[in-house]
C-alpha cells in the first residue's frame, strides 16, 4: 500500500476517533465518575447496542491509528527492505490481535 494512503488512513482514523472518544468520556462524566464505573452500570452500557457498537468502532479506529503510529516511529528509527516488512506485518498482526481481543469482550458481555 502507498505511504500516502497509509497516512490518510492514519489521519482519518484519528479524526473519527476524536469525536467518538469524546462521547465515551462524556458518558463517564454525565452520571458521576465513580457511579459510571459500577459493575451494573457498565453491564448496562454494554447491553445498550448503539453504545456497544460505538465501543467496537472506537476499538477498530484506535487500533488502526495506534499501530500505524507505532509503525511510523519504528520506520523513522531504522530503514531497510526486510526491516520495513517485519515492522509492517508485525504491527498489522498486533492490530488484528488487539481488535479480536477487544471484540471478544464486547460480544461476550453484550450477549450476556
Amino acid at each position: 500500500m502507498r505511504e500516502s494512503i497509509i497516512m490518510k488512513i492514519h489521519y482519518g482514523s484519528a479524526l473519527a476517533a476524536v469525536g467518538l472518544v469524546a462521547v465515551h468520556i462524556l458518558m463517564r462524566l454525565t452520571q458521576g465518575y465513580a457511579e459510571s464505573l459500577e459493575y451494573a452500570n457498565v453491564i448496562r452500557n454494554y447491553h445498550f447496542l448503539p453504545y456497544a457498537g460505538m465501543l467496537e468502532i472506537i476499538l477498530i479506529l484506535l487500533s488502526i491509528h495506534g499501530f500505524i503510529g507505532l509503525r511510523v516511529i519504528l520506520l523513522e528509527l531504522k530503514q531497510g527492505r526486510i526491516y520495513e516488512k517485519v515492522i509492517s506485518y508485525s504491527c498489522f498482526i498486533a492490530m488484528i490481535g488487539l481488535i479480536t481481543y477487544g471484540t471478544r469482550t464486547i460480544i461476550m458481555v453484550n450477549m450476556g
Binding site: V21, G32, A34, Y39, S63, G69, I73, L77, G102
Partner: protein, 146 residues
C-alpha cells in the same frame, strides 16, 4: 557506496530535543504521548476484559486503579491524550498546507516560513490545554468535582 553510518544516531538522535526549538520538542512529545497512549489503550482493553470475570473480578480491577497512584497515572494519560489530539490536528493542518506560509525566494537570514508564529501558538496551546485537562481530571477523580 559511501559509508554514512556515522550519521545514524539512532534512538539517541531521535529523542534529543535540543537545538531546534519548540517544534522539535513537540515532535518528541508527540511520539512519547503516542507510545504512552498505545500502551494505555492495550492496558485498557485488557482491564475492561475483567468484566467477563463477573462482579468480583470487575470490582477487584476497579479497586486496583482507584488509588492515588492510579489517579495520577490517569491524569498523565489525560494530558497525553489532549496534547496528542491538539498537536495532531496542528500537524494535519500543516501537512495540508494550512498555516505554513507561501513559498518565497530563500533570502538571508533564511527563516523557514513553515515554522511561524501560528504553529508555535498551536504547540503552546496544546501544552496549556493538556495541563488544564490534567487538573480537571484530577479534580474529578479526587472527588472535587462531580
Amino acid at each position: 557506496m559511501t559509508n554514512n553510518s556515522e550519521n545514524k544516531k539512532g534512538i539517541g538522535g531521535m529523542i534529543d530535543p535540543r537545538r531546534y526549538g519548540i517544534e522539535r520538542i513537540a515532535y518528541l512529545l508527540m511520539r512519547l504521548s503516542g507510545l504512552g497512549l498505545l500502551v494505555y489503550f492495550i492496558a485498557h482493553i485488557y482491564e475492561t476484559s475483567k468484566i467477563l470475570q463477573g462482579q468480583f473480578g470487575w470490582n477487584e480491577m476497579i479497586a486496583s486503579t482507584q488509588t492515588t497512584h492510579g489517579h495520577i497515572i490517569l491524569a498523565i494519560i489525560i494530558g497525553m491524550c489532549v496534547f496528542h489530539t491538539v498537536n495532531g490536528i496542528r500537524v494535519m493542518l500543516g501537512h495540508g498546507g494550512v498555516g505554513v506560509g507561501t513559498p518565497t525566494r530563500p533570502d538571508y537570514p533564511y527563516s523557514p516560513a513553515s515554522q511561524n508564529i501560528k504553529h508555535k501558538i498551536g504547540i503552546y496551546s496544546a501544552i496549556i490545554l493538556a495541563a488544564i485537562a490534567m487538573m480537571y481530571g484530577l479534580a474529578v477523580m479526587f472527588g472535587e468535582l462531580k
